[in-house]
């Protein structure tokens, strides 16, 4: 049987399904489709430390083709507040530089609170630097999926620790190294 084009707007009751960007769907599709919020921040200065929460020198990653989709995160003293409730994927990409120090562990951690006061380490990843021939770099990406049920009390912040003094890399010109990404996956 030859393919026949069907005029979906005639002889059919209900709402016409539209998969791409529709706004009046009855079921089976998500209005608009895809992610509705993504935002990325970065460490603007390199941080030499053995252990610290990241409480300053955080900037929103904009310009040079970068941008924020939907509502942005807000940040104060390293504490990030979500723009709305929902499930969020959080990615902390710790770019680590060492001027030839050994470090058996270098840990990046996402810390989470549900009362805007007491934090819990919810996700951690570790790396190490063992080679002593000149400066060495490594990275410790951390991923967490957080259910944000209350934007006033559910917040995140980031911490970093190492066996020896290492450097969490800051930005270099337009190039970003250590970044913090937030993607809203869906409703809570």
């Amino acid at each position: 049987m030859p393919f026949t084009t069907i005029d979906m707007t005639k002889g059919i009751t209900g709402v016409t399904p539209v998969a791409n960007g529709g706004t009046a769907l009855s079921s089976g599709f998500v209005n608009g489709g895809g992610l509705t919020m993504s935002d990325q921040w970065y460490l603007s200065s390199s941080l030499d430390t053995t252990s610290s929460n990241i409480t300053s020198n955080l900037s929103q990653n904009t310009g040079n083709g970068r941008g924020t989709l939907g509502s942005a995160m807000t940040e104060s003293s390293g504490v990030f507040t979500f723009p709305s409730t929902g499930y969020y994927l959080i990615i902390f990409n710790a770019c680590i530089e060492s001027s030839s120090d050994d470090s058996r562990y270098i840990s990046a951690t996402i810390n989470f609170t549900t009362d805007n006061a007491s934090y819990t380490a919810v996700q951690r990843n570790s790396s190490s630097i063992t080679n002593q021939s000149d400066a060495r770099d490594t990275n410790a990406p951390v991923f967490a999926i957080i259910d944000v049920t209350d934007t006033a009390n559910v917040k995140v912040k980031f911490s970093f620790s190492a066996e020896t003094t290492v450097s969490l890399a800051g930005a270099s010109g337009t190039e970003r190294k250590t970044t913090f990404s937030f993607l809203r996956l869906g409703d809570t």
Binding site: S45, T49, S52, S161, G170
Partner: protein
């Protein structure tokens, strides 16, 4: 053996006070946090600690001393 090592500000601070807990931003002598907040992995909670400040002149002198020694040892 390392080919090159740049002694940074934090290396000099740790050489003077091995128990120091500080942050140094951009390896800048004028951007040192002597009071820091950190996540204590053992006690599983945030802590704030203050390290007694070391003078800039002492830090820079120690940095030069360490760099000279390292360069000499690895010449």
């Amino acid at each position: 053996m390392a080919d090159y090592k740049a002694i940074r500000i934090i290396h000099a601070i740790m050489a003077i006070n091995p128990n120091a807990k500080v942050n140094v931003w951009d390896n800048d002598i004028d951007r040192i946090d002597w009071t820091i907040e950190y996540w204590d992995k053992t006690e599983k909670k945030d802590k704030t600690v203050t390290t007694t400040e070391i003078s800039k002149s002492d830090i820079l002198a120690k940095q030069k001393e360490l760099q000279d020694q390292w360069d000499k040892d690895n010449a």
